[in-house]
């Protein structure tokens, strides 16, 4: 944010940045910044709350009235995440005992995922695999968790990138199951702490680390906020 503020302003545009990490914005000192003590990923604060988002924007735009800079102010309200309170939403019952639990879970969540996609008109699934490929991708991680080498299980992309699709599938399904927008990181915690796939991803990460996989390959399979040291 800070760097783009400098670059765009120097080209004749007036900029105002929303900030989520105060230390970084202090050290880059862009022309104008409103620090928002909100969870990462939510610079406007509250999803589906137009009135709150408008207040944030108006506070940011008020900084444009200053005649000199740099200007750094704090938005007056703080929003906390709920990583320690996983979203409570029902997992589908076991449908087909002949397939692994993770596959059953992925397939059981498909109607909810489809509802979420239809409601929003978009999806974050599709970086490496689409929704049809999520079950197979999870199965690859299940094989890693069972002891197979991560390079040989047929993952269609780098493990962290494939995980982003799995995670999007689950979190978008969770939005439909919950029927409200959860607090930040509650859906993430639901995936990693309460689902079969979440357990597999954590186990696969541990196995890759034990096997000496490169740091970027295993570390980003699980968000820092969900790791044991986190």
């Amino acid at each position: 944010m800070g760097t783009l503020g400098h670059v765009l302003e120097a080209e004749g545009l007036a900029t105002v940045a929303l900030s989520l990490v105060r230390g970084q914005i202090e050290r880059t000192h862009p022309p104008r910044a409103l620090h928002c003590e909100f969870p990462l990923g939510r610079p406007l604060g509250r999803p589906a709350d137009a009135a709150f988002q408008r207040r944030v924007l108006l506070a940011a735009f008020r900084l444009l009235e200053r005649r000199s800079g740099p200007v750094l102010e704090d938005f007056g309200e703080v929003i906390a995440d709920e990583a320690d309170q996983p979203l409570t939403c029902p997992l589908p019952p076991r449908l087909d005992p002949s397939v692994p639990e993770t596959v059953d879970e992925v397939l059981g969540l498909r109607p909810a995922y489809d509802r979420a996609k239809a409601a929003s008109g978009r999806t974050m699934v599709g970086r490496v695999v689409d929704a049809d490929g999520v079950a197979a991708a999870v199965s690859c991680f299940a094989r890693i968790a069972a002891g197979e080498a991560w390079e040989s299980v047929g993952l269609p992309g780098s493990p962290p990138e494939v995980v982003l699709d799995i995670r999007a599938y689950y979190e978008e399904a969770a939005l439909a199951l919950a029927d409200y927008v959860p607090a930040a990181r509650a859906a993430e915690s639901w995936l990693y702490r309460t689902t079969a796939t979440g357990r597999v991803l954590r186990e696969a990460q541990a196995k890759m680390r034990e096997a000496g996989a490169p740091f970027p390959v295993w570390f980003y399979v699980v968000p820092v906020s969900q790791q044991p040291s986190g």
Binding site: L8, P39, R42, P43, L44, S120, E171, R185
Partner: protein, 149 residues
Amino acid sequence: MSDQAMRALVNDVAVPEFDTTPFTLPPPLREATVAIVTTAALRQPEDPPWARGDESFRVLPASARNLTVGHASPNWDRSGIAADLNVAYPVDRLRELAADGVIGAVAPNHISFHGVIEGTLSTIRLDSGPAAARRLRADGVDIVLLTPV
């Protein structure tokens, strides 16, 4: 780990250093054309995907809502932007502010970069950043709202 702790963890990461801060005086807000420049790595489905360390930008028509999120970091909450694009890319809020006469107009195009890129960001500073600025100015943009994720 809470999000607050996560933010504390990245609070001190290295960032580009600047000796001075440029400052452009904008026209009155009610007369200004406003664009969003986000680092959420948004793109339209037909745009080139984001590569690792990608310092280029994508142009987002103001009417586009079928946007994908290409940001590579797993360490930010994704449920918010999945539920409501406006929580990081407030394109509908800008339209409302224009309709209410708070801002002059919404730019016809917005722009996305990919955030959390390590290094000096020399391409953004010397090449793609100025190019994005020229693109915005050609659209008559006066003010840019910068949004991270």
